[in-house]
Each structure stands twice: as structure tokens, then as C-alpha cells.
């Protein structure tokens, strides 16, 4: 019972945080330097790890597909399989998980320490709403960067798959054939659906991480506890929402 209540409270306060942050949307042009800084932190610094992981995920997908299909003589479909799985599912989910670990945890740690060391109180007495200065630029930045990161993850993953198909002896599918089948079955809608998913995940992760950070009470130990909580809650939400968003999009 207590758990259900705390979940409902968490949902309520997160939605409230979103609404309050959105009410300051008009101040965004004035906060462009904060927005750009957050874009850099969220997008640019996550890029290398997104690149490396999606390359290997694309490769492994191709390898597994090739291995299971080798007795059926349907190697030419590997391209469409890798293309669809990455675009619709693995790309957005992987990017969201990486953003949680790389960015969400840092957001919670920063906001929680600002709360614990009374910096948030100082903002409030200065009549600078934390939702405006701390939450809104991060939300805007993640909204812009998630689709970009997802598209990059897709492209790198697709090429990873192509390389494996070419150089693995038991597959040896030419990139031309690989990409031909990919283009035939992976439509723009699939890529777009993936971007929508990534957008939803990104916004939810940043909101949850901001909310947990800003509601931290106590001292340094609680900052650590908040970070753990924010990451766990975000990961669970990504996977749960993945099901529901997919269901709506299909």
C-alpha cells in the first residue's frame, strides 16, 4: 500500500514538474546559452559511446541472424532484419539506456547536491524558479538530441551489420545485397517510430531524474541514494513504456 502511494506521488510530482517547466517555455530564447550547454552535455558527450555500442549491436545482430539462417538459405534478409530491429527497437532503447547512465545520473547528482546545499533554496528566494533555470533547458535539449542520437545509432549499427555480413565466411553477403533488402523492408515510418519512442524515453528520463534530484532531502548519503533511485526508476520506465509506446505506434 505504501509503495503504491509513493509511486502515485512520484507520478504526480513528475507531471507537475513537467507542467511547471512548460509554463516557462517562453523564456527559452533568453536561456539559449544554457540550452546549448545542455545539448552539448546530452548529445555530444554521449555520442562516442552511442557510436561504439550501436556498431557492435548491429554486428552482433547480423552475426546471430546469419548463424540462425544459414540452413535456410535466406541470407539476403539479414539486411532487413538488422535494419528493422535497430530502427524500431534497439536503437531507441539503447540510446535511452545510455542517456540514463551518462546524463540522467549526472543530472540527479547535480540537482540533488544543489538541493542539499541550499542552492535551490537560494534560487527560490531570488524568485528564479528552479523549473525554469534547471529543468526547462535540460528538457528542451534532450528533446532535440534524442532523435539525432537515435538516427546516428541506426546508421552506425546498419554499417556494423554490413561489415559483418561481408567479412564473415558463412554469411558473405555483399553490402549491396544487404542494403538492398534493408531499403526494401525498412521504411521511413519505422525510423520515425523509433525517433518518437526515443523522444518519449528521453523526456521521461530527464523529468524523472530532475524530479528525484530536486526532491532530495538530507546530506551527501541521500545524494547517492537519489542517483541510484533515478537510474533504476528510469530504466524500469524505459522498458515499460517501450511496450506501451510500441503498441500505440504499431
Amino acid at each position: 500500500m505504501r509503495q503504491i502511494r509513493s509511486i502515485l506521488e512520484g507520478v504526480g510530482s513528475t507531471v507537475q514538474l513537467l507542467l511547471r517547466a512548460l509554463s516557462y517555455v517562453a523564456t527559452l530564447p533568453r536561456q539559449s546559452s544554457r540550452f546549448i550547454e545542455q545539448c552539448y552535455l546530452i548529445g555530444y558527450t554521449t555520442l562516442p559511446i552511442v557510436g561504439i555500442l550501436s556498431f557492435f549491436i548491429g554486428s552482433v545482430l547480423a552475426l546471430q541472424a546469419g548463424y540462425s539462417m544459414q540452413n535456410f538459405g535466406v541470407m539476403q534478409f539479414i539486411g532487413s532484419l538488422v535494419g528493422l530491429s535497430l530502427a524500431r527497437e534497439l536503437g531507441p532503447v539503447m540510446v535511452a539506456i545510455l542517456v540514463t547512465g551518462r546524463v540522467g545520473s549526472a543530472i540527479t547528482a547535480e540537482l540533488a547536491s544543489m538541493k542539499v546545499y541550499q542552492e535551490v533554496d537560494a534560487l527560490i528566494t531570488m524568485n528564479i524558479p528552479p523549473e525554469r533555470m534547471l529543468v526547462l533547458p535540460r528538457l528542451a535539449a534532450v528533446a532535440v538530441m534524442m532523435p539525432v542520437l537515435t538516427v546516428i545509432a541506426n546508421i552506425v549499427g546498419w554499417f556494423g551489420g554490413a561489415m559483418i555480413c561481408k567479412y564473415t565466411a558463412f554469411i558473405s553477403l555483399s553490402p549491396k545485397a544487404y542494403f538492398a533488402s534493408m531499403v526494401q523492408y525498412t521504411k521511413f515510418k519505422d525510423v520515425f517510430d523509433g525517433m518518437v519512442k526515443a523522444e518519449v524515453f528521453g523526456l521521461v528520463v530527464v523529468l524523472v531524474c530532475c524530479n528525484i534530484g530536486l526532491n532530495t532531502r538530507g546530506g551527501p548519503r541521500e545524494i547517492g541514494a537519489s542517483v541510484t533511485r533515478a537510474v533504476v526508476v528510469s530504466l524500469i520506465l524505459i522498458l515499460v513504456l517501450d511496450y506501451f509506446v510500441t503498441k500505440i505506434l504499431i
Partner: protein
């Protein structure tokens, strides 16, 4: 060091009238812990009210209530006729709190800490803001620290930055939580003069929490004593010379008995 009276003041002439604070039957508890009960007093517009009391008596908690950072358990704090925590007060009353621990923004340089408020509230061009910020830093002898970060400052320097940050806000109501507790005597005297001159020239209302009896005597219009969860005394600073309440007398002139068995015990056990 030149006295601040001869230095240019950080604030241009205030356009806004002074505000009054009225604390009405205020009580605050955290769970089972009653910090204080039924505290009532008023601070007149332009007055300097010094709040004294032993450590842990709830002075900081009371100040946070006036700053609108916490909701009271019962009673209320009114500023200019509106609740201290209300949106009206936040929008219309410029209120600055000098936190006991400074509460500087650790990710911003000292300069940006001071410039944040005027930038966010669009109080002028970047040049005007720079001039105001540098003037506030000069007054508190912090001119050289503008580009450093809070983590590179000493405790007393942080406190001075916090005071400078409050001055830049051009507040109508200034709340200080132990402004002089970490400062040397010269700097403490400067703070006294700043508080006094803000009142004289700009009619700024101040509530100062302090243990410092000298500060109370030199700048206060009135002094309140918070003790054992109650506001036990409010009066002129002159009353402090011969307090009627024995508890206040004991607080101001503690008799330390070195032979007290309390102290012996620590000594033998360690």
C-alpha cells in the same frame, strides 16, 4: 580599509517602498520536534530587527519561514499584507536571504553568482550589471576573487560573497543568518556599517540573526530573544545591558566554571 560610508553604495536609489514583516502566532515542528511555538512579533518598514538566541533554538528555521521557504505548522508570516510563501510576495517583494552556510552556486564563478539575479531579472545591460557586481565585491574586499569558484574560497570569504550577492539584488527586505559569525573584527564592523547604511539611505528592512551582542547593540532598532521554543523577549538593544530575564543574562554573560564536574568528566574519559 575605508569605511563603507565613504564608498559608493552598491544600490541605486530604491524606487520601491520599504516593507514590513509581521509574524503571527507562528509555530513550527518537524515530526515530534517542536522547534518553536506561538512566536509573534512585527518588524516595521525600514527597521533593523536582531534575533538572538542559543544554538539550536530555531533562529534559522524562523528566518526560512520569513523567506517563504517552508510552510509553518500553524500561524503565519505576512510581508506587506501577503503570506511570506505566496506568489504575490515572491513576485512583488525583493527579498534576499544570506544563508548561514552561504549557499553559493558551486558551479558558477563568484562573478556569475552575483550576476545571476540581475541577469535573470533583466536589471540592466551587461555593462551596468558588471559595474554593480564589481562595486558590491569591492565593498566586501572581494575584488580579486571575481573569477574564482566558491570551492576555492575560505569560509569567511564565502560568507562575504553571499552578502555581496544579496546586496546586488537591491532588496527591500534583507534577511541575514549570522552574517558576521565567520568574519574577523574589521570585516564584522564593515558588515555592521553596511546594514546600517542600507537602512539609512534606502530604507531596507533587515532581520539579522546573530549571536553577536556587540552587533546587536550597535545596529539594532530592536532585539528579540528566541529561547526554549519561545520568543521570550523583544525590546530595545539597551535592555540587553541589564536584562530582566535571568536566562538572557546567563546567555549574554555566561559564567564558565572550569572546575565544573561536567568538564572533568570529558577530561578523564578521553
Amino acid at each position: 580599509m575605508a569605511s563603507p560610508a565613504s564608498q559608493p553604495n552598491p544600490l541605486p536609489a530604491a524606487e520601491s517602498p520599504a516593507v514590513g514583516v509581521s509574524v503571527e502566532a507562528l509555530s513550527k515542528s518537524y515530526g515530534k520536534l517542536d522547534v518553536f511555538k506561538d512566536v509573534t512579533f512585527a518588524v516595521e518598514p525600514g527597521e533593523i530587527f536582531v534575533l538572538m538566541g542559543p544554538s539550536g533554538s530555531g533562529k534559522s528555521v524562523l528566518l526560512r519561514q520569513v523567506a517563504g521557504l517552508e510552510t509553518p505548522t500553524s500561524g503565519r508570516v505576512m510581508i506587506d499584507g501577503h503570506d511570506a510563501g505566496s506568489a504575490e510576495t515572491r513576485e512583488h517583494v525583493r527579498r534576499a536571504l544570506v544563508f548561514q552556510a552561504g549557499a553559493l552556486f558551486n558551479s558558477l564563478s563568484v562573478y556569475d553568482n552575483l550576476a545571476l539575479y540581475p541577469r535573470e531579472h533583466q536589471m540592466g545591460t551587461e555593462d551596468q550589471i558588471r559595474e554593480k557586481v564589481m562595486r558590491a565585491l569591492e565593498i566586501l574586499s572581494l575584488g580579486k576573487t571575481a573569477e574564482t569558484f566558491p570551492s576555492q574560497l575560505s569560509g569567511g570569504m564565502k560568507k562575504r560573497v553571499a552578502i555581496a550577492r544579496a546586496l546586488v539584488m537591491e532588496p527591500q527586505l534583507l534577511l541575514y543568518d549570522e552574517p558576521t559569525s565567520e568574519l574577523d573584527p574589521v570585516m564584522s564592523a564593515t558588515i555592521d556599517e553596511i546594514i546600517g547604511s542600507l537602512r539609512k539611505e534606502y530604507h531596507v528592512t533587515s532581520v539579522v540573526v546573530s549571536h553577536d551582542c556587540d552587533l546587536a547593540l550597535s545596529i539594532a532598532d530592536r532585539v528579540g530573544f528566541l529561547m526554549d521554543g519561545r520568543l521570550v523577549h523583544v525590546g530595545k538593544p539597551a535592555d540587553l545591558r541589564e536584562p530582566a530575564d535571568p536566562r538572557i543574562a546567563e546567555f549574554l554573560n555566561p559564567k564558565i566554571d572550569v572546575g565544573n564536574p561536567r568538564f572533568k568528566k570529558i577530561h578523564t574519559e578521553t
